[in-house]
């Protein structure tokens, strides 16, 4: 058929060749998919960041009353205000220093803890290793700000309203430095992030070829020398990765510093961005968001460079000679107790605290008459006007429904996105386009969540062309979440397609299957596992997402997570505790179901979660 078309284009040989080539290219479904993805991803990933950057140097609609310039005029006013003005210390410099301080201290706590636990569980005979290696991932599966909510429930003081905390009911009055600010923020972040170091070190230790150590032994190196000269240097990349990931995570984390920092105005960059945004300083918030993005990108770039630098560290696993576990001997029982204590402190205590708080009329009063189901089932709640028990509250049901819808949308988008990005990137013969698609689909990973939300507001808050203003709609929430989580899905999709190779599809083609048939009968069934993971992970992460959605949600589009924050803002900490429990229950159940379903260890894939 294409022969006929060529004929009609006339006698010019060059034209005919050109037509021949282009029509052959465009006849491939891969090229069409790639073209659609090219436009879609450029619009959804690149455009928001550009819009944000422009916002940082352009007068916005809400700004003109303040600075007296017409909207749309370009100005350096916001840059000056953030970096060198009377308020820049409060606006930017102090939050920046605090962010770096919190990140460093969190790493200083989380890394040694995670590394020590990893060593105990991978290399020693401490009892219950199998169980503990999944148990230590739980703090990471919980929403990142769970510990912050728990902390308030346990230690908040009179500075905040609402019912007293456990500590106060016991007659203690926690000082401000203990109740709020740096100390609890660092603790909460460290408790949430230590599983990271645990997973990274554990995997590094496990993949370390035993023969590397054995050859050193044979050459006369004693145990300590082997540890210092062989094992430690080989774990260095894992250490750096854990350090950088901790930094990136703290840089993008909103919930914990907001909950624990606001009472004493301990502002870090994400909360500084948020308060600039809610007070209407669009330009200032855009500048801070750009700074966060730049720091985030440089951290990850640094990480990529380091990983490349340490490519030589990658070891090929030797034949599986069984590793002998270090015998703890008399220290075995005390170690077991200590290790289990970590589990109790990081998982059991927080969840039990939350549960108790929601069934006690007065927090921290351990008496039978104090128990009450009012926070779950009450038609009215004393001291909380207008609120009903969580299970009867239309707000909660509405928020839960919203959460499910948004996370579900993200799951579908990511599942399909992962499939198509993977297919296009691997199959497209045009290497440059393929590289562009791969990099653009990875870009949202580099942008910390709260800054990503700021970028989406910049692009979608005002009508642009045929796209109406999406601010305050569920579509915006779903879109932001879908694109933010796309990197994990497309990474899964690309590697699944790589493993699949061309042959199965080509074999079907030779057998006479058309492209849709090949997709439906060969490619999709073979990629099913990968696609499921690519879709489930966004769903689970989406259910507990806060940083990304806090600026996008509004009355009517509240999610379970933002609802929790509203309760905290009102001082209704029991209702906040209960809502967190609902989220935890959903997330934990989903995670275990997903692990059953896909037969994979989702925990290891959770590295990228919020």
């Amino acid at each position: 058929m294409s022969d006929e078309i060529v004929y009609k284009t006339g006698g010019d040989l060059r034209l005919r060749r050109f037509w021949n080539r282009t029509s052959a290219v465009w006849a491939q479904p891969t090229v069409i998919i790639a073209a659609v993805l090219f436009i879609l991803l450029t619009y959804l990933v690149i455009a928001p960041v550009i819009a944000l950057s422009i916002n940082s140097v352009q007068v916005g609609i809400r700004d003109n009353a303040v600075i007296g310039l017409e909207p749309g005029v370009f100005t350096l006013y916001f840059l000056k205000r953030v970096f060198s003005s009377g308020v820049s210390r409060v606006l930017f410099w102090a939050p920046l220093v605090r962010t770096l301080f919190v990140a460093l201290m969190t790493a200083a706590l989380a890394l040694p803890l995670g590394a020590a636990l990893a060593w105990l569980i991978v290399r020693t005979d401490v009892p219950g290793r199998r169980w503990l290696s999944s148990a230590f991932v739980i703090p990471y599966i919980l929403p990142s700000w769970t510990f912050a909510v728990v902390w308030l429930t346990l230690f908040k003081n009179r500075r905040l309203g609402g019912l007293p905390s456990f500590a106060e009911s016991l007659g203690l009055s926690p000082p401000d430095w203990l109740a709020y600010g740096a100390v609890p923020i660092i603790l909460a972040e460290a408790l949430h992030l230590f599983p990271f170091a645990f997973l990274l070190f554990g995997n590094a230790l496990r993949s370390l070829d035993v023969q590397l150590e054995e050859s050193a032994r044979v050459l006369g190196a004693s145990g300590p020398v082997v540890a210092r000269r062989i094992v430690l240097p080989l774990l260095l990349p894992a250490l750096l990765a854990a350090l950088l990931l901790t930094f990136t995570r703290v840089l993008g984390s909103f919930g914990t510093p907001y909950i624990l920092g606001s009472p004493t105005r301990y502002t870090v960059l994400p909360t500084a961005l948020y308060s600039a945004f809610v007070t209407g300083s669009t330009g200032v918030s855009a500048v801070i968001a750009v700074v966060i993005i730049l720091i985030g990108i440089s951290l990850v770039t640094f990480d990529i460079v380091l990983v490349r630098e340490h490519r030589r560290f990658v070891t090929i696993g030797g034949r599986g000679s069984t590793r002998r576990l270090a015998k703890l001997g008399r220290a075995r029982t005390p170690t077991a107790i200590a290790v289990n204590l970590v589990f109790v402190l990081t998982t059991v205590v927080p969840l039990v605290t939350l549960s108790l708080a929601t069934v006690m009329k007065r927090p921290g009063v351990f008496a039978l008459h104090n128990l009450s189901p009012v926070y779950w089932l009450g038609a009215t709640i004393p001291a909380m006007p207008g609120q009903r028990g969580l299970l009867l509250s239309p707000d909660i049901w509405h928020a839960a429904w919203n959460s499910l819808r948004v996370a579900g949308l993200a799951a579908i988008f990511c599942g399909l996105g992962g499939l198509f990005v993977g297919y296009a990137v691997v199959r497209l013969p045009q290497a440059r386009v393929s590289r562009y698609l791969r990099q653009v689909s990875f870009l949202p990973y580099l942008v910390p969540s709260i800054a990503f939300a700021a970028a989406y507001i910049s692009l979608f808050a005002v009508p642009r062309g045929i796209v109406p203003s999406l601010y305050g709609t569920m579509i915006l929430l779903g879109l932001a979440m879908s694109v933010k989580y796309l990197p994990y899905a497309s990474r899964t999709g690309i590697s699944a397609m790589m493993q699949l190779g061309n042959e199965p599809e080509e074999a079907a083609q030779v057998c006479g299957a058309s492209w849709p048939k090949r997709m439906a009968r060969i490619v999709i069934p073979l990629l099913k596992g990968g696609l499921m993971t690519g879709a489930l992970l966004p769903f689970i992460t989406g259910m507990k997402e806060l940083s990304l959605v806090i600026m996008l949600a509004s009355p009517g589009t509240e999610l379970l997570t933002t609802q929790t924050l509203r309760f905290i803002q009102y001082g209704y900490s029991q209702l906040a505790d209960g809502t967190v429990l609902i989220i935890v229950a959903i997330v934990v159940v989903l995670t275990f179901l997903a692990e059953r379903l896909t037969g994979s260890n989702l925990a290891s894939g959770l590295e990228g979660g919020a």
Binding site: A216, V218, V225, I230, R311, V314, G318
Partner: protein, 361 residues
């Protein structure tokens, strides 16, 4: 001097059958001995017990007069104090150290001073022809170069005993041959005791002064290569060594029993004890159909089924009544499928095995 003696050594891994069962083996100084056997036969475990990376449950291991392990006295010398060299199958080069640092590590552990270390390392690089790679990292080397560095790392400490665990299995065919030549040259030059583990009979045959064939944790035969080939002590050894494999005809088998009985009529004194008769493919002489066989030989009518030329020789698939067999020949004349021929075997080329698989003479 480095003479290794294993006495009744046994090793059982938790919950499994014995990896090595009651192994007694004496490895003379300066010999190149190969532990040959299928995977899981205990050869690597034996090697690792000599290196000190596995601790035996039973028996005694001695290196000259030194007891490395003894069940009786409880003696145990850890690997770092044995002074043996071990080259792993995966090479196990330290990826974070340069080639030079890899090679110098053992000398450093011995406390050799910097000057001497440099000389020694240079000697290794010259010996193995890997000069110029000093500053590279292992990941920047080809498989063959990695293999040489792994060898050099162990040779640097001049071990009296060098243990090699399938060192050639990750190399391509051409490189394997080159490295075999290299290993033989090194052994001739350095004269240390080498214990070599492989499942590749060609490596074992070409390299060793003696081969120890192992199966299921037991030593089946310890002998020079040609003796292993020509006088296999058991049916397993006969089958494991040789390519194409030895032709076996069982008296009690459904197919080939008639052939076995016809051969055994020539050996009345062995017939009562023998259950299996074996003949190597190259001992099968193919003559035109109807040829009268020479004296002291067995003959049988056969039909050519398949002809597989290898270049230097032909592997001929034969049908003998209800049995089939392989012949190996350099004779170009007989190679037409479906061609009837006469198969002739000199009587001295038959092997006999009893019901337990042991050789009958």
């Amino acid at each position: 001097m480095a003479r290794i003696e294993l006495e009744n050594v046994g090793k059982t891994f938790a919950g499994a059958v014995a990896a090595v069962a009651d192994l007694t083996l004496s490895i003379p100084d300066g010999s190149f001995i190969t532990l040959l056997g299928p995977s899981g036969c205990g050869k690597t475990t034996t090697l690792r017990m000599i290196a000190g990376l596995e601790r035996p449950d039973r028996g005694e291991i001695r290196l000259d007069a030194r007891r490395l392990f003894s069940e009786r006295t409880g003696e145990w010398v850890p690997p770092e104090r044995r002074g043996v060299g071990l080259v792993f199958q995966s090479y196990a080069l330290w990826p974070h150290m340069t080639v030079e640092q890899n090679v110098a590590f053992g000398l450093e552990m011995k406390g050799v001073n910097r000057q001497e270390r440099r000389e020694r390392v240079r000697w290794v690089f010259e010996l193995l022809h890997i000069g110029g790679l000093e500053r590279r990292y292992p990941m920047q080397l080809s498989g063959g170069q990695q293999q040489r560095v792994a060898l050099g790392r162990m040779l640097a400490i001049s071990p009296d005993v060098l243990l090699l665990d399938e060192p050639l299995s990750n190399l391509d065919a051409k490189l394997r041959l080159e490295t075999r030549v290299e290993l033989k040259r090194l052994h001739a030059e350095l004269r240390n005791t080498v214990v070599y583990v492989t499942h590749d009979q060609l490596e074992a045959m070409t390299l060793s002064t003696e081969i120890a064939v192992m199966n299921q944790g037991r030593l089946l035969q310890l002998a020079p290569p040609m003796q292993i080939y020509q006088q296999p002590a058991t049916q397993f050894v006969a089958e494991f060594v040789g390519h194409p494999p030895i032709n076996l005809f069982g008296v009690e088998e459904r197919r080939g029993a008639e052939i076995a009985r016809s051969i055994l009529t020539f050996f009345p004194q062995l017939a009562a004890r023998s259950r299996v008769v074996g003949v190597r493919p190259e001992a099968m002489v193919l003559l035109p159909a109807g040829t009268v066989p020479p004296a002291r030989s067995w003959s049988h009518a056969a039909i050519v089924e398949t002809v597989l030329p290898t270049g230097s020789e032909w592997i001929i698939g034969l049908r003998l009544g209800d049995a089939s067999a392989f012949a190996l020949t350099v004779d170009e004349k007989v190679r037409e499928p479906r061609q009837p021929i006469t198969l002739v075997v000199d009587l001295k080329h038959f092997h006999f095995f009893d019901g337990e698989g042991n050789r009958v003479d």
